[in-house]
Symmetry: none
Subunit: 212 residues, 4 copies
DNA sequence: AATGAATGAGCTTTCATTCAT
DNA sequence: CATGAATGAAAGCTCATTCAT
């Protein structure tokens, strides 16, 4: 009944899952196609049949991880927030959720940027494009909320977005390291203190740290 | 009187310089010991005699790059600053200077963090330690200046330092990308606009972006 | 009445045709069973079902090509010739005709001899036998005509046959190269100059090149 | 004392000898670089260091075999012959000598022509050129002797050269097969009957097989 | 009977490491 | 001490062959 398809989606998924995990854990070069095949419980040959070569497999893993987030992503998290702080907190909480849910995908995307230099130029462009698109999406989602703010003279929405970008980016890395060091954490609630800490800091960035 | 060292310091230095440059440019795996030996104008055998294996060589290059900055570093840049903004600007200007002066060392240290995962656990710890030490140094240098500030209730020096850390870190990456894209830039003056932009942003972080 | 054969003759024929063509064009190793199956519009599995393995397929292709000529061959071409020259010309013209009609089969047989060494000893013997049989047939066909000649003292029919064999063999290769280089040639008439040239040469061999 | 050279001529020679022998015996594809390395008593890696890749190794083997004959070749064999028959016999005797002395080189060159189709186009051109050069040399050597002959009307030197070419070529193959089947033959004298047979045939070609 | 997805042995090639000189 | 020729384990990839469907 289950006709064998030219590409078995279950197998392809297993390969991608294995690729995502191993590339994320070990990086591009130290990960061997053999390993991925073994972890996916398929033969080496099949990996090459489905993905042509190691580089394409890496790119496919990256795309799959990205797609994963793109399909899962809940824009309302950004859109239904009362103010900037609430939005960032929602977004961060959401990102942590994703990180808990899809840790390998998350890690792969986080490290992909630096592995670029090890890929052929053509693939680098592809990775680059993906990251730009992601960044654009985030900006697009945040823009309407920031637009409502009353900025001090000399301050602009763009400035604030850039600064917030640096902070959240740094914070996401912090959280990632934290989660890597505490594998027992499985629920978003356990991360609430960190989230609140970020909230406080962002609030202070909005209103200023310094008296007077 | 001085015991003749079995190691030729000039050759060792050349090896490290070559290693720093090539590891920085290409990453760990794609850099071959052959290349390093050739660029250092020594034999491959000598590289292994001095550094045991490729991994140790990488670690030595990292340490050397770090040392380079540690020796060169001018603490007065941090200490002789009137206020926080001035200090950060001075520090950033100084970092850009270093980046222009020692681009390979700078890039190596910037990418080292992500190459960690490709090293054996023992080496990872070493790299980790180096980064922590660096971070601690920066904090130590900044602490006295931040201590003078009058913080709003709920805000702490540690909070501000952390936030500033994220921002400067993000900004350093931005500058690095900028410099990589504009190799014609050789003087710190040409980077002044970016530095001023960072200053503005940090000022706004101190006092707040939002009206009221 | 006629037992239903488990083998579909049409499919088998397609496989053999494809095998003949591809083996002739590319040689044994560079030709993949995949290609043959695809060109024959059957599945790879069927190829193995019908021919056991690649080597047997090659042998079958060879046999089929040989059979092709054996069935088609018109003995009257040899038998109804007035004299030796006429016979050789008739035979050569006939061979060119076959070459134009069945180029793949022709090329396969021409190259088979040298591909022998790449086959297991048992198959080599088979190929060898086929070539000997072919040679014997040619001799057999020529013998009655040569028997009528009046040989000089010291000359024998066998000598002449052998010499003619070398010449026609060399000439067939020449023609094959010529046809490969001129794919626009499709009619025997276009080859007439070469045939006449061969005739002249054979005539000279019979009567001698040298004055006196 | 024996300084290790960047290319050890003894090793290189061993590799080439092994390559020549194995490529000659087995053909291009069925010969594995592993085998050649083993037979040459060097590591696989060294073969690639010296010859870049398998194809280059094949070409090097071919060139070496060709060179072997070119350096060894004794033109006087052709030049100091009283008449055509004597020349051909001398040349053939000489070729058999070479074949006995360098059987692998001889076989490699004999089979190279047909292995062409298995090589990349660029290498095909190289092989082609080598064969043309060889053919040209033979023609050049024979021309002066043939020029002295008195040809019958309708016969030309070129015709005779071509015919002789076919015959000697066919005969060389015959001899090669004979030697392959009789490995106990090591001296040229043992081949004398075949040589005399060829002489007889060529004489008959000159003067004609047929009475009147 | 027919398919073609799946397998894995085996190939070429690379490069960290060794060691004779 | 210094060299770089030599090594061979291990990588990516191919393709004849198998076998579940």
């Amino acid at each position: 009944m289950t006709k064998r398809l030219p590409e078995d989606p279950a197998k392809k998924a297993r390969m991608l899952t294995a690729a995502i995990q191993l590339f994320a854990e070990q990086g591009y070069e130290p990960t061997h196609v053999d390993q991925i095949a073994q972890q996916a419980a398929v033969s080496k040959g099949l990996v090459f049949k489905y993905f042509t070569n190691k580089e394409q497999l890496y790119l496919a893993a990256l795309t799959a991880a990205n797609q994963q987030f793109m399909t899962v992503i809940d824009r309302t998290v950004w859109q239904n927030s009362a103010d900037l702080s609430a939005m960032i907190i929602n977004a961060t909480r959401y990102k942590i959720q994703l990180q808990l849910q899809f840790p390998a995908e998350f890690n792969l995307l986080m490290t992909a940027f630096v592995h670029q230099q090890q890929l052929p130029a053509s693939s680098q462009a592809y990775v680059q494009k993906m990251f730009v698109a992601n960044h654009d999406l985030t900006s697009e989602l945040m823009t309407p909320v920031v637009a409502l703010l009353q900025f001090k003279p000399g301050a602009t929405a763009a400035d604030l977005l850039e600064v917030i970008g640096y902070i959240t980016n740094g914070y996401i890395h912090k959280i990632q390291r934290y989660l890597a060091a505490h594998p027992e954490i499985t629920k978003i609630e356990q991360m609430e203190p960190l989230i609140q800490d970020l909230a406080t800091k962002l609030k202070l960035v909005e209103s200023g740290f310094i008296q007077g």
